[in-house]
């Protein structure tokens, strides 16, 4: 089947699903409530020009913003999910997949391949939080694993940008859970072979994605005010029944507790990656 062309840079997946607004000339900022001219936001890498709130960025937008122009070569783009559980909640899983594909222009939540960042060749993986919340099923696990194996074999540095509110993909049941082990094992081999891995956490990075490849970077960067954690705040709230601390599970919270190396503004991300990669390829 023919590959659908995904959105070009700047087409954003909107806010959280519940707040998704129809495409229009104007949009409201989640961070400061200002009414913004959409074009201004898109030109600014989907960051609010007034309060610096980071809206989500599609995989295509992410790749374009990080890699040297026209250097990205996508791998395994045609890979599609199966339906091993014949899962049907209120809608059969294959139907849900087709709807997501039509809506996002992606075949799955992960895009992998290789490209250059300021002249340094890197293997890149991006999960798009707009595709079933960026959750990891077999395809995301397999694509990332193959990319990591390629990086291991060719001794290339690795950058993975995570954005997943869903963690593991429920619709693929235990297969999804096992992807966590599969990708982590591939990273272990990569690490053992001396590979350098930079993990970039974006809003949101939760559950099985946070509890596998996203947390295993040699260097871990995060965009400002991203939600990052294992259990969702709602689940925690229901369990502990006390007010969650201010800023709980944000990038700033994780930095404070020693779990990430740096918080990096989206506009600075490419520069920071280039600087880091320079240390791995001098």
């Amino acid at each position: 089947m023919a590959q659908k062309r995904p959105q070009s840079l700047g087409t954003w997946h909107g806010l959280s699903d519940s707040k998704r607004v129809p495409e229009g000339v104007w949009m409201r900022c989640d961070g400061c409530q200002a009414t913004l001219f959409r074009k201004d936001v898109e030109r600014n890498l989907n960051v609010c020009p007034q309060c610096q709130h980071h809206f989500s960025l599609s995989a295509a937008g992410r790749i374009a913003s990080l890699l040297d122009t026209d250097t990205f070569e996508e791998w395994f783009a045609g890979m599609q999910p199966g339906d091993p559980l014949q899962f049907n909640d209120r809608r059969p899983y294959p139907e849900r997949i087709r709807a997501e594909q039509a809506r996002t222009g992606l075949n799955e939540a992960a895009v992998v391949g290789q490209g250059f960042i300021r002249g340094v060749r890197v293997v890149v993986g991006v999960t798009d939080s707009g595709f079933i919340m960026g959750s990891m099923g077999s395809v995301v696990g397999e694509k990332l694993t193959r990319a990591i194996e390629y990086a291991t074999e060719h001794q290339l540095p690795l950058v993975i940008v995570s954005g997943s509110g869903g963690g593991a993909r429920m619709h693929e049941g235990i297969y999804s859970l096992m992807q966590m082990a599969k990708v982590s094992a591939a990273l272990a081999r990569f690490g053992e072979a001396g590979g350098f891995y930079v993990s970039v956490l974006t809003h949101p990075t939760m559950g099985g994605v946070a509890a596998s490849f996203a947390s295993l970077g040699d260097v871990i960067l995060a965009e400002p005010r991203a939600l990052i954690g294992f259990a969702g705040p709602k689940v925690i709230q229901q369990t502990v029944r006390v007010r969650l601390p201010e800023g709980f599970q944000t990038s700033e919270f994780l930095l404070e507790h020693g779990f990430i190396d740096r918080i990096v503004h989206r506009a600075e991300l490419r520069n920071t990656l280039a600087e880091l990669l320079d240390y791995a390829s001098h």
Binding site: I63, G78, L85, G191
Partner: protein
């Protein structure tokens, strides 16, 4: 025997319990009749035998036809043997080793040096607790980061001592709490997955009760992975899944079926290597028999691992997880992902 059997409070066991009560009554009558040298004694004895057979048949029938949700209920049954129940039955003498050398000693994961028949092993197992006090101390089997760190530390020790590792999995999930997040719950699980893939000593993992998501997998990477017959293994709890996808925890039975979390299904999907049989009517009916089955499985699994070339251990472990996944490889894309101009 039946007279002293605890009430398991599993709703689908009602007909079994009713028959057990009848049997107990009949056995009491038999005892009285025998003591009184009653002429009807042989006839009562025959009735007892017949009812016992009938009961065994009923237990088999009920347990052969458990729904996914009923299986989940069995796996959570409070009388079901947990790691600390198996220790005296399988792993004695046990030398418990505490603590993660950083934060504390998480009682939701038990670790220590143990014997398995003639062998020396490292035991790592979730503990949910039985009494309310113990349950609270163990957080109902939901480990914190210090539990996963402790597990990893002891597994590294096993590698150094060149003894195999046995992991018994029994958790609803890793603990969802403020402290757990502050201390890096996601990171420690990720690190365990990473490290367990290359700990250079045989690892056998068995889900003995609840295999709840990342909290289960956090001690679940091994050379052999098995499940007890009425255990479950799932990416999310049926209640959690029902809340998200069916908008209400009351749909948990439906979610349990949809997620295909029973041992038979997980085995059929090729995720686990073996299903360890439980005594008729579940492990909670007979801890000894459950332990005997588990022990013989562990011994067999370790023997099988050792029959393979030692230097291939980690390669095989890698491939074991590497091959998991169902997807379709469509034709190569005809257009590049990004506009090339």
């Amino acid at each position: 025997m039946a007279a002293t059997a605890p009430k398991f409070r599993l709703p689908f066991e009602a007909p079994i319990q009713e028959m057990e009560a009848r049997l107990a009554e009949l056995e009491a009558r038999y005892a009285t009749a025998r003591a009184d040298l009653d002429a009807g004694t042989p006839e009562i004895a025959e009735q007892v035998r017949r009812l016992r057979r009938e009961l065994a048949g009923l237990v088999r029938t009920v347990y052969a036809n458990l729904s996914a949700w009923e299986t989940v209920q069995v796996s959570r049954c409070e009388h079901r043997p947990q790691t600390r129940d198996y220790i005296p039955l399988i792993f004695s003498p046990f030398l418990e080793l505490h603590g993660d050398r950083a934060v504390g000693d998480d009682r939701a994961i038990v670790t220590g040096l143990a014997r398995l028949g003639e062998r020396r092993i490292m035991l790592v197992g979730h503990q949910k607790g039985k009494t309310l006090a113990e349950r609270q101390a163990c957080n109902f089997g939901c480990a914190h980061p210090e539990g996963y760190r402790k597990a990893l530390l002891k597994m590294r020790l096993a590698e150094k001592l060149r003894i195999p590792i046995v992991c018994l999995i029994d958790t609803p999930g890793a603990y969802p709490g403020i402290g757990a997040e502050e201390r890096g719950q996601a990171l420690v699980i990720a690190e365990n997955l990473y490290e367990m893939s290359r700990i250079d000593t045989p690892i056998v993992c068995v889900v003995i009760g609840e295999g709840g998501s990342g909290g289960a997998l956090g001690i679940g990477v091994g050379d052999r992975v098995a499940m007890l017959e009425y255990a479950y293994y799932s990416v999310i709890s049926p209640e959690g899944c029902a809340t998200i996808l069916w908008k209400g925890a009351e749909h948990a039975p439906r979610a349990a079926a949809a997620l295909r979390m029973t041992a038979r299904e997980v085995k059929r999907m090729g995720i686990i290597d073996d299903v360890v049989p439980e005594p008729p009517g579940g492990a909670h009916r007979d801890h000894r028999e459950a332990a005997a089955n588990l022990k013989s499985y562990l011994l067999r699994a370790l023997r099988e691992i050792e029959e393979q070339p030692r230097h291939e251990l980690l390669k095989r472990r890698y491939e074991k997880f590497r091959r998991i996944g169902v997807f379709v490889e469509a034709d190569a894309p005809t257009e590049p992902l990004l506009p090339t101009s």
